[in-house]
Subunit: 378 residues, 2 copies
């Protein structure tokens, strides 16, 4: 069915319990879900070319509005044809609102009901982010999906702080929707509410009633226990609109994805596969592998014998370990690439398990294998 923004549609093709396989169509791409969006903070998925990211199967990536706004600037990117053209990415793009990064500037920012005043981490320049500027900057960036400006309270925040953040997020969502949308740019609302299930459910209802093209869950993976997140996402997933894409922001590990897919989530983004890859950690079908460990020194087997990615087809653990030991930048590049393939494969396998109505048992088995593998690696 069509979404509120012209050019966008969303169809749920198959369901298995609460898990679902769907298709999100944007003017630039067709995204089969569940789908993981690689993170390209500065209009670059770290170390990789767009064609390498493309080859993993990813069809939507995420770029960070705050970072691109402060450098090289939204107007420059607009003149260069938008982020996708600037970086040569041939598919869809989602941009965050910039809020999350601004809040992490800690003592360099001040939030009020109208927006956030902050100093750039680059040159200390005073800047102002409001719901309207967040949408304006994202309009310049030319993403397929723009996120509303929300207030994300710190993990473990007291109830009154969370309630104030919810109220602001609601008011700002309305202001974002009141701006003139860019052609071919959808808008997703964001649900806050911290770790309080009643606040979360109330806020979900508020956001779901607004004419957004998708609904996102914000403020997860901010330090709360993993089991609490899985449980809360489980409750929320059951109550999220069925006819629009559901996006769990900034999450997570392979196990987190499997749990959330089982709760009905469609879209994910996270820095883990690229960040951990840069640091020498590979995600494999048998758990995490730290390639720097001495045990891999003379090991001619691939990172993951079940993986068909170019890294696993070409290089041994011995060589990958050597690259990290020698500080060769090919190492971070290859592990990032493998990890993105792993995440993409995981979501494809999830889709396949949903289609054959065996998601729950499949996910339980995979999660068990991943956890046992992690333990053996220690």
């Amino acid at each position: 069915m069509t979404l509120p923004t012209p050019g966008f549609s969303f169809e749920v093709a198959t369901e298995d319990g609460r898990a679902r396989g769907a298709r999100l169509t944007t003017p630039r791409a067709v995204i089969d879900t569940p789908a993981f969006m690689p993170v390209g903070t500065h209009a670059s998925v770290k170390g990789l070319t767009p064609s390498e990211v493309d080859a993993t199967g990813a069809r939507m990536i995420l770029a960070n509005t705050y970072h691109l706004w402060v450098r090289p600037g939204a107007e420059l990117i607009d003149r260069q044809g938008g982020v996708c053209r600037f970086m040569g990415w041939p598919h869809a793009l989602l941009t965050d609102s910039g809020g999350y990064q601004v809040y992490s500037l800690a003592d360099r920012r001040k939030i009020d009901d109208d927006g956030v005043t902050f100093r750039s981490h680059l040159d200390g320049k005073k800047m102002r982010l409001t719901p309207e500027t967040a949408m304006d900057v994202q309009r310049h960036l030319g993403s397929d999906v723009a996120m509303v400006l929300d207030e994300c309270p710190p993990g473990g925040a007291d109830r009154p702080v969370v309630e104030r953040a919810m109220r602001r997020t609601t008011a700002w969502a309305e202001r974002c929707l009141a701006t003139t949308p860019a052609t071919g740019q959808a808008r997703f609302g964001i649900v806050q509410g911290g770790g309080y299930v009643d606040l979360r459910m109330t806020h979900l209802q508020t956001i779901a009633e607004m004419p957004f093209d998708g609904v996102a869950l914000g403020g997860f993976s901010v330090g709360e226990p993993v089991a609490q997140m899985h449980e809360l996402v489980g409750e929320l997933g059951a109550a999220m609109p069925r006819d629009r894409p559901r996006y769990l922001m900034g999450v997570g590990t392979p196990e987190d994805l499997l749990s959330a897919i089982g709760s009905g989530i469609d879209l994910f983004d996270c820095v883990l596969p690229t960040r951990n890859g840069r640091n020498g950690q590979a995600f494999t079908s048998r758990g995490r592998v730290n390639i720097r460990q001495a045990r891999h020194r003379d090991d001619s087997s691939p990172l993951d014998s079940d993986c068909t990615c170019p890294v696993c087809r070409t290089y041994s653990r011995a060589y990958l370990r050597h690259l990290f030991a020698s500080g060769e930048m090919l190492g971070p590049r290859l592990l990032s690439l493998h990890n993105l393939h792993f995440y993409a494969d995981l979501t494809r396998q999830a889709r396949s398990a949903i289609e054959s109505a065996r998601y729950e048992s499949w996910a339980r088995e995979v999660t068990k294998r991943l956890r046992e593998g992690d333990e053996r690696q220690r």
Copy 2:
């Protein structure tokens, strides 16, 4: 015609003045010359995959014996099938003798007539490099071409110092030849003699009389004036054996290559295209471009509009500059790739100019354009 080592042959196909187009065949590759060998110090051409290096047209790369000997170790690489298999490089490999790196350890090494004692730059471990160990380590590395251990005196060394280094290099060359060669591994001799033309000519004659598969000029680009190197290589080129490959070690800029090709040199290696690429300097048909400069900020044109490499076909100067400004590792990767394409293209164009008997005028014109471009960039 066949070279002394079975499986190797060398044919001069075309000559134009002293410049020549030839073909070196090794058990692993066919190398059309003039050819530039990208440097893969630690069994990795920095930032690039073997298939990317392959796509530039390079058919022989260089790896550094010293670095691989101290980490991960020659025996480990041998167990992993040799450097080519270890790193996944499908063509030929040349290894240096390790001497050059050991000499650069300065106060950590001591040279005598039998060899060099030094301490590893990694763990301070005392090690001993002799002509025999240099050949043994290279045998483990499994290169197509092994270089003899030579003594390379510092640039500007006094005549007696240079003479002693020559004598040692000659004696060591004989000892290298006396070792049992590995199957499918050729050996190149090295000519020393510093900046003294008479010493150089005498030593060339000595080395050329030995049954090496190729003759290399060592000890250039060690701080001497560029014009002096060009002149001396000119004299030496005229006297080098016609029927064997001629290799100018560690040189150089595009202008250096054009001058040396005109003097009859066939093979080159240098860190410039990859090292300068990592630092933001691109070699283009109109001189060097420093992509970090503000002038490229909003420039949607490619690095080099005459270049057909994947970088120039895909990315703008504005984007490449942004990658460097943001510290994104894709920037060093892409500029290294472009620069290797530029060097490979340059040698291919040189070959073509030789074949159509217009090398001198072509090289003069290209050199002029490169120099004028460099001046405009300042």
